[in-house]
Amino acid sequence: MIERVRALLREAGIPRLLIAAFVVALFTVAAATHMNLADLITDSIVRVARNGVLVLALLPAIQGGLGLNFGLPIGVICGLIGCVISLNAGVPGVSGVLLSSAIGVALAVPSGIAYGWLLNRTRGQEMMVGTYLGFAIVSGMSIFWLLAPFTNPTLVWAIGGKGLRTTLSLGGIFDKVLDRWLAFTVAGVTVPTGALLAFFAICALVWWFFRTRMGISIAAARGNPRFARAAGISDERTRIQASVLTTVLAAVGIVIYSQSYGFVQLYTAPLLMAFPAIACILIGGATVSRATITHVLVGTFLFQSILTVALPVTSQVIEGDISETARLIIQNGMILYALTRTGGQRG
């Protein structure tokens, strides 16, 4: 019996269980203080659908041996450029989302190749290189946002008429088009069907990809580069494939994020996209060298639930707001914890 409990603990992972217990505790307190549970649950689900693809974008990088992709902002920026171009042209609704994604993907492919090329030359330091590259590119792009020749008056600064605003509203263009598609309400909980379906569909696609010849060779090269070479797989190539995939998913991810959030955030905002996403997948049970779709789903749900529920609950229980502090402690603590662990874990 004790053995089985122990095995169960090992399987689930102590941090994952602690976080899950924390989420349950938060919901319990919320219920006890007569808060609107349905609203909290709705918020949690919306946030899962909103952030899911960005978290999923980390999976190919981990599976391809690139570690945690701190260079996620690269793909995010590609997606943002897609959004801005589509907004500038004024394409509304689902077609706006599709056009933004298409442009984002088109930019993400060459960016991913270049990023992978760089990572192949800085082997063993992928996470550090990704972090610094992310910082550098975000700063470079800040100049671009200022100078880019966008003309649509809803996008540029009202005074002077040049340079994009820091936050672009999507109201009336493609604000929540996916979230609203086929949305329904059960017992007060509103389910953003379209966005959830899009997330699940992309998950399925990634799952399928890692069952194909290319996906299997990416994972094989991650597990053992010398083995891969003996099997005729070039691990330089598989690493570039993984980096393209992670960048492409990040580009699509930010488009889905933006439509759900209702705003496109430019300038330094992309910098802050990588850390919460990384915390999500790690809470889900992934390690620096091993991740599954289950890790993505479980982690996104746990982490985003904390964010939704912690804020109202803490303001109820404690005077003042510590939810942002708690989020940062959990987020960065998780990343640190994962970096101290090198072994893989099944999930």
Binding site: R211, T212, R213, M214, I216, A220, F227, A230, G232
Partner: protein, 542 residues
């Protein structure tokens, strides 16, 4: 340099009944030997005979007491000693010239010679803060180093940096460092001539004699039997952790020593006569050079007939492992190779696999397996990559999805056929024992349906039962499915029981090609690089 023990009757070093076990595996079974001051004593034996373990015990290496210590006694100058740290052994007057150089490349020659024993002068700071801060006395250091270098006959400037010097010089600097130690009583040379040219080797043997004449006891570990005959005063032959004999080097023949080293093969040879094979050439290799670190191959040519089992033997470091690794594209190689009469491109692992070659690597964990992945995926992977086996159809080849059902069915069949002890095809391979992992490696090679299969070290590090099974599978692949086999092994007995012909390499080139029933001496001589004598011994046996 002390010369105290030359005249006394007490041996400089005496080992009495040394016994050592690693995890229940007895690697030394009561080895005794004696080295007198002023004497050169040769210690010879195959790889794995127990020489290194014996030296580790002598020097008190941590690996020995971490694995439960040893039995028997070590006597130094008649007094029993039991070192637990190499520093104690050096303090007691033991010196060692290593096979791999232990030199700091960025330091100068003199600095390397005096490393950690630097002569020093006190200064103001050291008077306050202790002797650790004393100045290095460069003049004394250079003078001492010069004297040591002159004694070993190396005329280079003692102030040169070590990096970039030829390997021969590095070997002499190692020796000079030992020479410089004032209390030296016993010096061990661990295969010192392996990296030297012939004239350098000759000079080294001379300095070895000079050592002995000054009263130091010399223990000389080597594979080269001609050198033993030319310098040693006495010798001990080790085989499988036991003393196989102590022939007198002055009167015994090299052939006799070789025979003692190798011993009788365990089983009777099953090799067929060459006439039973057809004339079709499966693989022909000309002037193959492989840059594999530690196992370089130089100008090896060989032909293998269809259905043949070719063995490749030789001592560690002489290039036997490099041949298969080079042809399979794992290390940079040059040369001309043709496969069933068609030209074959080197340095391309994918070409090797798609053209019908397969390889079981000697490095199971490093190259052979994906430890974290399941047995079924490990078995399927190479065939999946090279031939697109175990995949569903899909218009774009790179995106053809895995056929899990076919993969699992095949894995189950292989598990049954190879008798892999496992909980099921989904088990992670790193949880399997060494023998079962090896079977998975074989299964992966078999999934490629190869025409020519290279197997390196098929039974290294696996238990007896698995060993037999693996050899059976190899025989059945060859006899029943007509796969041409090229087996490389450190275990000569294994090659002799399995192969039709055995190719022996020495220093990267082919020293001899022998039938499995050639006399022991021929094998021993070929592995020691004595090609002419090996050919003669082969002639005697036939």
């Amino acid at each position: 340099m002390s010369a105290t023990s030359t005249t006394s009757g007490t041996p400089a070093l005496e080992l009495r009944g040394i016994v050592k076990e690693y995890e229940g595996n007895r690697v030394l079974k009561g080895v005794s030997l004696t080295v007198k001051g002023g004497e050169i004593h040769a210690l010879v034996g195959e790889n794995g005979a127990g020489k290194s373990t014996l030296m580790n015990i002598l020097f008190g290496m941590p690996v020995i007491h971490e694995t439960g210590g040893y039995g028997g006694d070590v006597l130094l100058g008649g007094a029993p000693v039991r070192f637990t740290d190499p520093a104690q052994a050096m303090e007691a007057g033991l010196g060692m010239v290593h096979q791999e150089f232990m030199l700091l490349p960025g330091f100068r020659v003199a600095e390397n010679i005096k490393l950690n024993r630097e002569p020093s002068k006190p200064n103001l700071l050291s008077r306050i803060a202790g002797p650790g801060l004393e100045h290095v006395d460069v003049a004394t250091m250079r003078r001492d180093a010069r004297r040591a270098l002159d004694r070993v006959g190396l005329g280079i400037d003692e102030w040169l940096p070590v990096a970039g010097l030829p390997v021969g010089h590095m070997q002499f600097i190692e020796i000079a460092r030992e020479v410089d130690k004032a209390k030296l009583r016993l010096i061990i040379f661990d295969e010192p001539t392996a990296v030297l040219t012939e004239s350098e080797a000759e000079r080294l043997l001379q300095s070895m004699r000079a050592f002995a004449e000054s009263g130091v006891a010399v223990l000389f570990i080597t594979h080269r039997l001609d050198e033993v005959k030319s310098v040693a005063d006495s010798m001990t032959v080790l085989r499988d952790g036991e003393v196989a004999g102590r022939p007198d080097p002055k009167t015994t023949s090299v052939a006799r020593v070789a025979e003692l080293m190798v011993g009788r093969p365990a089983g009777a040879a099953v090799g067929r006569r060459a006439a039973e094979l057809g004339s079709e050439i499966a693989l022909s290799v000309e002037r193959l050079n492989v840059r594999m670190p530690g196992e370089p191959v130089e100008n090896v040519s060989l032909t293998v007939r269809r259905g043949e089992v070719l063995g490749i033997g030789g001592l560690a470091g002489h290039g036997k492992l490099g041949i298969a690794n080079g042809i399979m594209g794992l290390y940079p190689a040059t040369g001309t190779v043709s496969l069933f009469g068609q030209p074959f491109g080197l340095n391309d692992a994918r070409e090797a696999l798609t053209r019908g070659l397969a390889f079981v690597s000697e490095d199971r964990r490093g190259v052979g397996l994906l430890g974290e992945e399941s047995i079924e995926l490990n078995i399927a992977l190479s065939a999946l990559e090279a031939h697109g086996r175990f995949l569903h159809p899909f218009p774009i080849p790179a995106f053809r999805p895995l056929n899990g059902k076919e993969m699992r069915g095949h894995a189950r069949e292989m598990i049954r056929r190879l008798d892999v002890r496992t909980t099921g095809p989904e088990q992670q391979v790193r949880r399997l024992s060494g023998g079962n992992q090896q079977k998975v490696c074989l299964a992966r090679a078999m999934a490629l349906r190869p025409r020519v299969l290279f197997v390196n070290e098929p039974t290294r590090g696996i238990d007896i039962g698995a060993k037999e099974r693996v050899l059976q599978i190899l025989v059945s692949l060859n006899r029943d499915e007509g796969v041409t086999l090229i087996v490389t092994s450190s275990e000569l007995a294994e090659l002799r029981s399995l192969c039709d012909r055995i190719l022996l390499v020495y220093r990267g080139h082919v020293a001899a090609v022998l039938p499995p029933d050639a006399p022991d001496a021929a094998f021993g001589l070929a592995m020691a690089g004595d090609e002419v004598a090996a050919a003669a011994a082969k002639g005697d046996g036939a």
